[in-house]
Amino acid sequence: MPKPEDLLIDTDLRTMPAKPWMETRANFRDGTYSFPGAPKNLKYLGLANPREWSPTDEDWKLPDNWQEIILKGFKERLEKYRSFRLFMDICVRCGACMDKCHFFIGSGDPKNMPVLRAELMRSVYRNDFTTMGRLLGRLGGARELTIDVLKEWFYYFFQCTECRRCSVFCPYGIDTAEVTMIGRELLNLVGLNINWVIEPAANCFRTGNHLGIPPHGLTDMWEFMVDDIEDLTGVKIDLPVNKKGAEILFVTPSGDYFADPGTYTCMGYMMLFHELGLDYTWSTYASEGGNFGLFTSHEMIKRLNAKIYAEAKRLGVKWIIGGECGHMWRVIHQYMETMNGPADFLEEPVSPITGTKFENAKQTKMVHITEFTSDLIKNGKLKLDPSRNDKFRVTYHDSCNPARAAGLLDEPRYVIENVCNNFFEMPENTIREQTFCCAGGAGLGNDENMEMRMRGGLPRANAVRHVRDKHDVNRLLCMCAIDRATLTAMMHYWAPDVEVGGIHELLANALIMEGENERTLDLRGEPFKEEEESEDV
């Protein structure tokens, strides 16, 4: 990797290639693409054309009739998704979206402009599905689906994090995420996928979570956290697992089970629920809210999501709480009930602590943890000492999916403002519905794609750097497990000295628990106060 100050030295948003885009082939440069899905994972999921191959090979070992398969799939989807059909037809190429994509800003590659990313498919659409396109050919903006076009699709549809920022600015609401999702579905039909999507999907299908952790492995990890909590607070918490008849099922991203800093957020949930005396349970079967189906196909979303309602039914819970996770919430909010509902065996969620009815979740019966927690705080049910977090100067990254798919903007802020005293917003063009992506979502958070991640992450990191320099911000909060993993690398590269963490980590720091020891260490085992640190030395 080049040094941060050198990475974008040749990047310019206004200089376009001399060659027209239809005639430019994708260049699979190291660091800007992801490795293909391993055959075993495709086989496990029953997906098409499992084989060893590499994007840099000339021959991608496609089925002989790959064109026919793609065009048939294209037609089917035009008939099944109005969004897709409409978004193929009504773009006027006004360019309002052109500089809204983090990957365009960081790479200067015009095919990362949302309008052009969609044109990669529209050109084929015109050629094969519209009269005008058929009649006029190139003059009508049409081009044939050749192997180079297909390779281009692979390169650019796996260079889109489906964050939907462009959609906010489009006068017709054209959502490139919809186009990318369909694009990836079509690629899947001929066996083109990336391993960082398909392996978690396969793992999730088999074990219930992305990492492929079997049930006994999960309980080990959870117990480990329970021990850590006891060391830090002196409070021994009990951890209900697969408990039948519990009132609430808790589902969170498995990213939070195994890697820092997600684990601290996970410990935060445990401490909160223990302190409330909540009658709830973890599940080893539904041990994942995240859903890499979203990055594979609509069918895969449904296959992976099904376990949540199935487990709620098996355990006989009344309703469900979901943890801090980005695309998990996109799936839960936009797809779950439609795909795997109705959840009529559950009850409308009511907080057992405050009695608040979560009217906004009365159909899915699934409540976001920040909704649950902000209601607790509002009703004065938690004893909090925000001064414990005084060493943190905090900013908040609106994780794309909860922000732009669900509209969860103020709940997390309310929690943050009540658990710490130093909260600073990033500039307004980079937060809330205009938030910038971490550039590692939608399955792109792998290491071989690091250069592209750092490029795409610049807009987010740049805003963080701004508040770091202006307000000495040293902690970036987010409510997404992918963010916690990828923003950590991002900050390390672009905005050193800013650590990443979840909201419930800080909540748990501030939470005064019954029977706790005098707490001097935060969840990371570091002293609450800098002075104590120096005394320790």
């Binding site: 059909r85 006004c94 600015f169 919809e178 074990t207 219930g208 006994h216 296959r303 899915t364 903007l409």
Partner: protein, 334 residues
């Protein structure tokens, strides 16, 4: 397609259309351009627009996928934004009205710039929004003003629009403000497309063609009104004949510029249903904008939902039962 090829191919087509009508009206006769072509154009336009909208409307919307641009409805003490993240029909109507009437999303536009450092800055960029407003509202007023040719007696609101529109009597006859506004808007949109490198790069002939066509229509209209004046009474006679289905060419001669104007309008009507101009119909059907963000509140049904292969709990437990028992995790079957 080369950027300039896009521009010039569109320009040549529009120039050819002007020449066809200018010269053609002398060769083929006025009734072809005054009656036959307009009728065909209107028929294609009406059928085409209806067909397109029906075609879209028949495609199901399997999932509720609004883009939320503001706080969604949740707890009662959190202020929800019903216009940016609608939670009921009124919110959806409001959001769509803002979008359609005031171009809300374009109003949000920003310009990103990359500086050494590297550093990214964002500045408000409302020129596209402004030009869009001028262009569309100019066009709307012009269309409404034209109703005076098709309705007798002229409705009072049309009179009112015309008199306000012609308030500044700079020249005689009046130069309409709407004409100027429309021309400014369209010219800006054209220059923007040529001047901004990214936009030039993405532009297709289909982006330039409608702009040139509309500019041609507006310019021929202004010329006809202010330079090569035509007999407006004769024009009205022809228009009334067309709308009352008693088409006849008026006895008084109408200058060829009128037929250029009318022919370009006819071409626009024919082109419209098959082009990106259909965005005016499509915007109402756009699922990210016209659906309420009530996904967790209300049931939504996908008409083609189908069963899929899942990994059931029973299969899962079969895979891991012994280990689960060892770890003290409750199981269904001992």
């Amino acid at each position: 397609m080369n950027a300039w090829t896009s521009l010039f191919s569109a320009l040549f087509i529009v120039i050819a259309l002007v020449l066809i009508s200018w010269l053609g009206v002398g060769v083929a006769g006025t009734s072809l351009f005054g009656i036959v072509i307009p009728y065909i154009a209107i028929a294609i336009f009406l059928l085409g627009v209806v067909a397109r909208i029906v075609q879209w409307a028949r495609v199901p919307v399997p999932f509720r996928i609004p883009t939320t641009c503001g706080q969604g409805k949740s707890l009662p003490w959190i202020k929800a934004d019903n216009l940016e993240s609608p939670y009921n029909t009124w919110g959806v109507i409001g959001r769509m009205a803002l979008e359609v009437l005031l171009f809300r999303s374009l109003f949000r536009n920003t310009r990103a710039e990359l500086w050494p450092g590297p550093n990214v800055t964002y500045a408000s960029a409302k020129w596209l929004w402004l030009a869009g407003m001028l262009f569309h509202y100019g066009f709307l007023i012009i269309v409404l003003r034209h109703l005076r040719f098709f309705i007798e007696p002229v409705p009072s609101f049309v009179e009112a629009i015309s008199s306000v529109d012609g308030f500044f009597q700079i020249l005689l006859p009046t130069v309409f403000i709407s004409d100027a506004i429309f021309l400014i808007g369209a010219t800006y949109l054209f220059l923007r497309r040529v001047k901004i490198p990214q936009l030039r790069y993405i532009s297709l002939p289909a982006d330039y063609f409608p702009l040139f066509l509309l500019l041609g229509i507006a310019i021929s209209g202004v010329l006809m009104r202010n330079v090569w004046k035509v007999d407006l009474l004769a024009v009205k006679q022809l228009a009334l004949g067309l709308v009352t289905f008693h088409p006849a060419m008026p006895e008084a001669a109408i200058g060829p510029i009128f037929f250029v104007h009318l022919f370009l309008v006819s071409v626009l009507l024919v082109y419209l249903p098959f082009s990106k101009i259909m965005h005016f119909g499509g915007v109402f059907l756009s699922p990210t904008r016209n659906m309420a963000n009530v996904n967790r509140m209300e049931r939504y049904v996908n008409p083609w939902n189908y069963p899929v292969k899942v990994h059931t709990y029973e299969e899962y437990e079969d895979d891991f039962r012994e280990k689960m028992k060892e770890a003290g995790i409750p199981v269904e079957k001992e």
